[in-house]
Subunit: 170 residues, 2 copies
Amino acid sequence: MEIEIKFRVNFEEIKRKIESLDAEFVREELQEDAYFYIPCPKQLRVRKISNLNEAFLTYKEIKDPGRNEEFDEIEIGVSDPDKVMEILRRLGFKEDVIVRKRRLVYRLEGVTFELNNVEGLGSFLDIEVISDDVKIAKEKIWNVANALGLSREDVEPRLYQELLKEKKTT
Amino acid sequence: MEIEIKFRVNFEEIKRKIESLDAEFVREELQEDAYFYIPCPKQLRVRKISNLNEAFLTYKEIKDPGRNEEFDEIEIGVSDPDKVMEILRRLGFKEDVIVRKRRLVYRLEGVTFELNNVEGLGSFLDIEVISDDVKIAKEKIWNVANALGLSREDVEPRLYQELLKEKKTT
């Protein structure tokens, strides 16, 4: 299970703090995520990482809808994102939202930091732990979140695709 | 478009004939094809090639159902066949037939020979040409088929999955 908490952050400030924790820089990703309509709590996504020439097909089930911190995820690498999208269209799936972001990935003792600048939305830090023990995973996440000066008020429970849709309708 | 005609053959005899035409041997594949139920003329398949450690997700539309010689095909390489199958199941697709075969692939002047020994069904030769001109493609296929001593009576129009289902019910 993927346990993840998302915080609204100032990109440069939190980047300095993560680096000062001695987290290992893993990589930078320029992501374009195409979400297809399927009923909540399921999610279906094709991710292109243009700078690394990689692509993934991802299926997720949100285990705590509304809070959106616990995900059952299945992800595979694919040779051609455009062809996967065409297969999904031919199978009857319709495209929903596109989320574009620049992501810096860091890692520290089993915790992954995904520092995102999301087009149209601003900057967010996803702190992620892979574990079947939700309680321990969340403790780990909150320990590092507190070390970065983040608190409950900084949490953004909504998904990026929800935030983009809300923005369009306001 | 993929234009392909399937013939019932004697494996060793036709292998010698293909090699005597100076066709280039491309590779041997041990394939396990999992088909998922979707309405004809569509087809959805996950192929594992165990000896080469490769896997593909393939969507096809049969353009001449019943005859089954013309296919609109979209295929992508995938990093993990079991995970793709799990994603398809979670999206609501049900597994149908599994087709297992040993395949030798040869190529000669734009024509691909796929010599198959199919578990439970025997040996078949698929002669394939990729082209948007069906007429020219079929002429090419019949030229080499005739050179191999194959005729109309050797053609097997049914799909492997149809043959396997018919076998089960008799």
